[in-house]
Amino acid sequence: MKQRPLRKLMLATSLVFATSSAMAFEPERTAECIAPANPGGGWDFTCRSVGKVLTDLGYIEGNVQTVNMPGAGGGVAFAHTLSKREGDSALMVAASTATTTRLAQGQFRGMTAEQVKWAAALGADYGVIAVAQDSPYKTLNELMDAIKADPLSVKFGGGSALGGWDHLKVLIAAKAAGVTELPKIKYLAYNGGAEAITQVVGGHIQGFTGDVSEVLGFVESGDLRVLAVLAEERLPGELGGMPTAVEQGIDAVAPNWRGFYLPAGIPDDAYEWWTQTYDKLYASNEWKQVMQQNGLMPFHKSGAEFEAFVQQQVKDIRELSIEIGLIK
């Protein structure tokens, strides 16, 4: 009887050696995905759709459970990941440009982008600047010239709060176009893109700033004219009709990416496994279908490249926010 504990120990150690030599990292049977918002929003969609493809393709044997954790625009989930989930390699948290914007502006008090591991972006919705069909402005340059002449002449509306990503898109474009009085540009915050679009179509305000997915229906119906897509090149397929800012000589790119971060303190091989899995998922036909059905456009970065991208985005947003006097 006395030998038993010893034998157990030996068995255990041999097992540990066996697994660590044969396979670097064994993913958990089930995983959890935190959507830092209520059901129905973008983060919720990111979790559920990625979770489904992960299980459909067999990368996760069991299921990926989506947990909604709304609050503080993702701040509650970020704090939860930092304080309670360190080293949990079966957890991923949905994130987007909204997350980096808030991190850059110090809205998650005492928390920074370096405190988690950024895993991958799996698609993006690109920024657009649009006007009503009957607007006198036909190109982005005409619009920017009007702003240069009188910043109050064009009022923009968008679906994010003041200083949020929709607001920043206008500023990114204006800055690239050489507008100097950035703080004077008027931005009205609405409760959603659609609400802002109605106001533009109704002629109450002049410019709309938002994402491509928000304007599609209104472009089709002929109510809205897109002056510029803030992407590096023209979008694929039918969306190719919309001009980019870059081709009009205004070097403004503003992707609203969708992706994930992982808790700090997870083993390197776990991080490796996740980034590689995201790469494979991005390349899969199943994911391409999800992207197409939901208006997501190609945008993929993972691992170290994504880390660097996020840090750079945070830095850029911080500089811009300081410039318009939003933060000190």
Partner: protein, 511 residues
């Protein structure tokens, strides 16, 4: 034609087996809630919202279930009015006038059947009215700029107390409480935190679903504990139904008149279902004149208010869906539900979420048929359910509410808030401060503030912009009327309603 197409698409949504099931569940629960005295439609919907969340229902399924609850509660309110002379909810008050005398004469089953048919006609006509009117109002959307919206919200607040409201000051206090709670969280016009005290959970403000469940459902439980009502209602007797076709035909003109009046008072903000049933009843009395036996068990006296209050209930959906301005307490709760589902009610709803809206409208039509079917053959079952002791019912209600609230965001803080709101609701109800304005303040306050700021930003700080368009001036004058009317017409209407009620209570005392 376009409307008809949309409606057909709506039926495609409403007639899926899943949605039919939720419509049926909603109709049954709603009838039950309406029948139980005290649990009005607003409470009923408030209690069931967390259920929709915890079941993880899709927006369409949640809305179909909750609108069925709403419609069901309007049907259910009449059951206890007729059988026990206790209105199940406020709008059903007028039904007691002739319903209870009918029951006393041993015609309870006939009264219930006639009122079910009248309710059906009322709901049906009002739903058709909704189908015709809503798209027209929605097309009006583009004319609404920030200034017009601001005026519209002012109108909503001005008519809050309702034309028959008793204490305007308490209504204003309640609305202010709501407005104050609404200021907590990020101010999206400046990006600043207000009253969040660095607590992350408060950054997005106080969730009004939690407030609603606390204020309505939890306070209901506290009232129950206080009253120690252990027993169910006295078992009501039901005779065998003996209804002839001629009896039904006899009340059809009455129901039609009641429906039209009810619908109009439902569409007007501030009027609501109580006024709908009252106006229908008194008008019917005028029309019939001395030939009727109103107050002594005239079937037309049952049909008129029931057609009226059901029509008003559906009519109240028109301003809620098209303008985002609720016409009654229950629609305010439904509005909160919509916003929580990331659906912004208002002019854009009909273009942005056409499938959903028309699905709900089609579900209302389907639900009505279901309710009619439920309420004639199965009425005996509801009468039995009425005698379930609340001591079993209330804990279940509270449990459902708590589980639902927790499942929204998995946060224990929300539960504390729910209990806090429950206590506040209890105190407010003791002080006779109405609760619906609190919710409306929370719902509409941020919108009103945002639109004021937008209006001023657009006009570069010129306040006269608020009164510059014809549309905004029209809305402002309506708002002014809404404020003034209760002082002019209110006392008269109220006296009449009380008189009508008092006349009934005389024979009751004689018993």
């Amino acid at each position: 034609m376009e409307t008809l197409n949309f409606l057909l698409q709506g039926f495609a949504v409403a007639l899926t087996p899943e949605h039919l099931m939720f419509a049926a569940i909603g109709a049954i629960l709603g009838t039950l809630i309406g029948a139980l005295p005290g649990l009005g439609p607003a409470n009923g919907v408030a209690i069931l919202i967390p259920l929709a969340f915890s079941l993880g229902l899709s927006p369409a399924a949640s809305l179909i279930m909750l609108t069925s609850v709403y419609a069901g509660a309007m049907y259910g309110g009449r059951i206890s009015s007729i059988l026990l002379n206790i209105p199940g909810d406020e709008p059903a008050m007028m039904t007691t006038l002739d319903g209870y005398p009918m029951a006393m004469k041993g015609k309870a089953a006939e009264a219930l059947a006639i009122s079910a048919i009248a309710s059906f006609i009322g709901s049906l006509l009002a739903t058709i009215g909704l189908i015709i009117l809503a798209p027209i109002l929605a097309r009006f959307a583009l004319h609404f700029g920030a200034a017009e919206y601001f005026a519209l919200f002012a109108l909503a607040f001005a008519t809050l107390g309702g034309i028959t409201g008793k204490n305007q000051v308490k209504t204003i206090v309640a609305a202010c409480l709501g407005l104050m709670i609404a200021t907590v969280g990020v101010d999206i016009s400046t990006g600043n935190q207000r009253y969040t005290f660095d607590i992350l959970e408060l950054y997005e403000g106080v969730d009004f679903i939690i407030a609603i469940v606390g204020l309505f459902a939890v306070s209901e439980l506290l009232f129950f504990i206080e009253k120690h009502v252990g027993e169910g209602l006295a078992a009501a007797k039901l005779n065998k139904l003996n209804l002839k076709m001629s009896d039904i035909l006899h009340v059809i003109p009455t129901s039609l008149r009641g429906s039209v009046l009810g619908f109009i008072s439902g569409v007007l903000p501030g009027a609501g279902a109580s006024l709908g049933s009252f106006v229908s009843y008194t008008l019917e009395k005028r029309v019939v004149g001395s030939k009727g036996q109103f107050g002594e068990g005239d079937p037309r006296g049952v049909a008129a208010p029931e057609a009226g209050n059901n029509a008003a209930a559906n009519g109240a959906l028109v301003p809620m869906l098209t303008l985002g301005v609720p016409g009654s307490g229950t629609t305010a709760v439904l509005l909160a539900m919509l916003i929580s589902l990331n659906i912004q009610p208002g002019p854009m709803l009909f273009t942005q979420n056409a499938e959903l809206v028309w699905g709900v409208i089609a579900a209302l039509l389907v639900g009505n048929l279901m309710l009619l079917a439920l309420n004639i053959p199965m009425i005996g079952l509801f009468v039995k359910l009425l005698s379930i002791p609340p001591k079993y019912l209330m804990p279940v209600v509270t449990l459902v509410a708590a589980v639902g609230i927790y499942s929204i965001s998995n946060s224990a803080l929300d539960l504390y808030f729910m209990v806090g709101f429950g206590l506040a609701g209890y105190v407010l109800r003791k002080l006779e401060v109405p609760l619906v304005p609190v919710i409306l303040g929370m719902l509409l306050g941020p919108e009103m503030e945002l639109n004021l700021r937008h209006a001023l930003a657009i006009s570069d700080g010129d306040w006269t912009a608020l009164f510059s368009s014809g549309l905004s001036l029209t809305i402002w004058s309506l708002a002014f009327l809404g404020l003034a009317l209760p002082y002019i017409v209110g006392p008269i209407l109220r006296r009449r309603m009380e008189n009508a009620r008092a006349r009934l209570e005389v024979p009751e005392e004689g018993d």
